[in-house]
Symmetry: C2
Subunit: 616 residues, 2 copies
């Protein structure tokens, strides 16, 4: 069988397998797989360099299905590559099968989860940056995109960044089958529009018939030969191609075919072609030099912003570990990621004001083992929440830093104040949420984060300077807390994190003057939280005031109550948080006005002690 | 003074006022205001149609500062229009002033909050849709955009949707000053790139020198004369224009000038020009016809998906109230917004797979008094979290519907399962979070939502059919709950919402067989939550099991604990939620595997009753 004949047959095999999978599962998106089948046939048979026996091989190409719902096509490719058996293929969507409705890295040959559209291409940008600038290896990133998903702005963030970083190792394959879930896309089969847009965003663009394997071959040849810019292959395809009952018809998205047997017959029947997928040349990733730098140390009593400590510690970590990489959303002079950038310009990637692309790039970079810190204002991580959510499904190891937490930022006003970030980050599966109050604590927690096995960890930092409370040799385990004041006669416990630790200390002083002993707990680890210390405090003091620069929902207060409930520990708990929409003003004015300052804490504690009634 | 001379002087006045504001506040972004000053001078003096005495006038043009940090320029315009005094101008960023760091609708002439970049233009798209298709009035939408923010994908979502909807009443003014916060943008002064991209996205584009008032005038003239497509004026500008010390210099973003007096002198000194802003012709918005439709009614014991009930109720509400409008993110055949679309095609706007634009359009539409329902899969609202957060700062009235909640969706897998949406939505200021379990409850809650004064309300619906528990004439207040089983001997209370209400009822049956009386509470209103009923249950049964198809953080369990704490009510609480990353599988398989089904609930209840120890 000649190449052309093989590709055609392979495309049909992928269609047959898509139909079979969905028929067995009684669900799935076979028609979406059928449109891209020929595009993937040529890729698998001729262009992809991938060792299925060694998915971690440094020089493997990477294939991302940005249109993750076309998973039947991907799984059909795995069967054709000999990576899974036919029996395994037919476990599609069954409970316990790794072949889930949308691809996840439970599958050894899948690096990242897709299925929320518009994410695969920006993640591919991160992988391509890793290949070109960090690993410095010649592997290529192939991303199969749907046309519907180009409505997501994140696709255009990816187009812009890929061009800016001259990612000639990245090829996007745009499967323009005209039909979205519920009807035609905005652009239908107007392929010229996609061509114009791609070119306007600095890409090399090639328009083809996506069912003509010779045109596909020529396009990939041209893509791999193109230097200095990424290439998009804009392919005219037909959804449900090959089966007249569903070809180019509305109403067939996400449904198995009515008569799979007839469809398989129409497609020429079951095939069992096995393709010898080309393996990449061996190679090793570039190794960045390290030195015996130490973490910065801050003197107790000096004043340092935790965001500044973040930047300084990150730069030091970069010197200590060659795998540390940073990305930032055009605010590096505020998050202080710029300190890292200045120290390690080769390992810093500016993501401009594109938080979705920033997080996606981080996800792509960590696939290659980099320890990626992504920083922005804490408020603006909300722009990337869907990407963070998906990163958890990708089992990604990711370090997020959010500066300018809460109302303590002052004059810039509510749009810049993160008051929901702890709720958002706590509600990420397996996440870690840290909110240090001083510079040494920030430094140590950052170091600790890099030793985590995996998962998404978040560090929340402050804009204003805060006093250094802890010496540089102290130890802060994740899941721990610090009891800053404690005595046997304590009648109440004040639990804060970040800026409110300092306010709690002042409140404890004021309460001491009233003869009320107040324990102070610095709950720097909001998730996991130090339930033991809190339960002990509940038992010993009977009353707890939690105070956070955050909305009342989903943050420290909720975390404390959950920890107490888990331990069947009971206390009277007053929860202070920001309950009104804040205004611009000076930080101290705002802390007072929104009742999370020392006065408010002391008042809440007094009320608890005197009346036993929470006043929040 | 001739027009040209006036415009030039007015531009200088805006610069002087920007410098003065920031100097008084000792913070702010004067250089960003200075780059757009001439663009706004010509707009205010000649093109804007706006009655400052009647900001709600139906025919007023709308001006949105997408680059919200240039607020000094906006406030300088208000002074020049006679809307505020010089004294008021100089309260900029002071606590209590409505002139906050970034504009908010505390200012009568500001419709929406900006300050998170990339949001003003997509909101403008919503306003322009309102003008062209709903109000059917000739007002124009003017949006001042920064060049930096064009890195946000949401800007390109707006470009595509504006062109798709042929919004010739929308003009974007792109202030290309080359400099972002920490350095040059990806495109610098390469204005041709912006021109090409805008044209590739179907816009009319005009390139000008943004400091040449005659070119500006000509461009606006051309924009207002262009039909069938939106126009973008791509303006070459200089950041800090007019003051040599800061002109086109890096390091001057977001900072007051070092020597404001010298700068004011260089700009020609203080001016007090007052412009008579042209008022619009009077006019009235189109009124959509209504009829005496009733809400759908479902028979107890039948099985209906709450997402289906959403669509049917929304269509009925559309018939009852002419202001009801719907937008959806290309999943209307899943969210059942398509039922509304079929009934009221004139009031339905397809937003394709662009959730940011979807929410932004809703924010823009509600400015004109429409009751906008925006629907997608609950999981994909996370894509728009920053827009939802900002909508709260905009004091927007918004109705969000999230279908396909939780693992009960089954085979599609975790990317499509919302398990963090309640946490996200609870952490929106002033929000309401509803999660009905049956069709009649869904219908009644939807009706109730439309009677709210304002704020962001969220309704979470289910993919699978669920039994109708409640009759069609029952009443479900927001903040209420329903006690479905109760007796004097109850030893435990089961608290669920949505799918877990049905599982709780089954668990109560199983517990009854064991001789354990279990109260069942349908906590359909997660925020506000019915704390009284929960506190009573805590007191009377001493034990509570909460169960939710959601991660453990930030959802029902947290809300229940917070409500108990507020009332100083104590119980042993076991919290069931999804604690592992779910897989694809059948809904019932998944509910069992992740331990939120009837068996798991009964087991947790038994453990609480027998051992008194929460086992979560």
């Amino acid at each position: 069988m000649g190449d052309v004949q093989l590709w055609r047959e392979l495309g049909q095999q992928f269609r047959v397998d898509s139909v079979r999978c969905a028929a067995a599962a009684k669900s799935g998106h076979p028609t979406s797989g059928m449109s891209g089948a020929d595009l993937m046939a040529v890729l698998l048979a001729k262009y992809l360099r991938y060792d299925f026996g060694r998915p971690d091989a440094a020089t493997n190409d990477r294939l991302v299905f940005s249109k993750g719902h076309a998973s039947t096509l991907l799984y059909a490719m795995f069967r054709a590559a000999g990576a899974i058996t036919d029996e395994e293929l037919l476990t599609y969507r069954q409970f316990g099968s790794i072949l889930e409705g949308h691809p996840t890295p439970l599958i050894p040959w899948v690096d990242v989860a897709t299925g929320s559209l518009g994410q695969g291409l920006p993640i591919g940008v991160g992988m391509a940056i890793a290949g070109k600038y960090l690993d410095r290896l010649p592997y290529r990133i192939w991303v199969l995109c749907g046309d519907s998903e180009s409505a997501e702005g994140s696709i255009w963030e990816a187009f812009e960044h890929a061009s800016h970083y001259e990612l000639d190792n990245l090829t996007a394959i745009l499967d323009v089958n005209r039909l979205g879930q519920r009807g035609e896309t905005m652009n239908g089969w107007n392929l010229d529009r996609y061509m114009e847009r791609a070119r306007a965003f600095g890409w090399h663009a090639i328009q083809i018939d996506g069912h003509d394997v010779e045109q596909i071959d020529a396009a990939y040849e041209e893509a791999t030969a193109t230097t200095g810019k990424p290439t998009v292959v804009v392919a005219h395809t037909i959804k449900g191609k090959g089966v007249k009952a569903v070809e180019n018809k509305e109403g067939w998205h996400g449904k198995p075919l009515d008569d799979p047997d007839a469809a398989i017959e129409e497609l020429g029947g079951l095939r069992n072609i096995v393709v010898e997928v080309a393996k990449p040349e061996p190679g090793k990733a570039h190794v960045f030099e390290t030195d015996d730098s130490d973490l910065p140390r801050y003197e107790v009593g000096t004043e340092v912003a935790t965001r500044k400590a973040y930047g300084e510690a990150l730069a030091a970590l970069g010197s200590m570990r060659g795998k540390v990489v940073a990305v930032d959303g055009e605010v590096s002079n505020s998050t202080f990621a710029e300190i890292f950038k200045d120290a390690h310009p080769d390992r810093y990637f500016e993501m401009y004001i594109a938080e979705q692309q920033m997080v996606a790039a981080a996800v792509g970079l960590q696939v290659r083992g980099y320890l990626v810190f992504a920083s922005s204002f804490a408020a603006f991580h909300s722009r990337a929440f869907d990407f963070i959510r998906m990163a958890a499904i990708s089992r990604a190891k990711l370090f997020l830093s959010g500066s300018h937490a809460g109302i303590s930022i002052g004059e810039d006003g509510p749009s810049q104040m993160a008051l929901e970030d702890m709720a958002m980050m706590r509600a990420v599966h397996g996440s870690i949420v840290l909110h240090p109050c001083d510079a040494n604590q920030t430094t140590k927690l950052l170091l600790k984060m890099t030793t985590l096995e995996g998962g998404i960890s978040y560090i929340r930092t402050l804009r204003p300077n805060t006093p250094v409370l802890y010496g540089p040799d102290e130890f802060f385990p994740i899941g721990g807390s610090r009891v800053l004041r404690s005595s046997e006669d304590d009648e109440v416990t004040l639990v804060g994190c970040g800026i409110t630790v300092h306010e709690s200390l002042k409140a404890a002083d004021a309460l001491a003057e009233d003869g009320i002993g107040a324990r102070v707990v610095d709950c720097y680890s909001v998730k996991p939280i130090d339930g033991e210390t809190l339960a002990t405090a509940a038992e010993e003091t009977g009353r707890i005031v939690t105070v956070e620069d955050h909305w009342p929902e989903g943050g420290l207060g909720d975390a404390v109550l959950a920890a107490l409930a888990e331990r069947d520990a009971h206390a009277q708990v007053a929860r202070l948080a920001v309950t009104e929409m804040p205004r611009s003003g000076k930080p101290a004015e705002l802390l007072a006005a929104y009742k999370i300052d020392a006065d408010a804490i002391a008042e809440a504690a007094r009320a608890l002690v005197r009346t036993g009634v929470p006043t929040t």
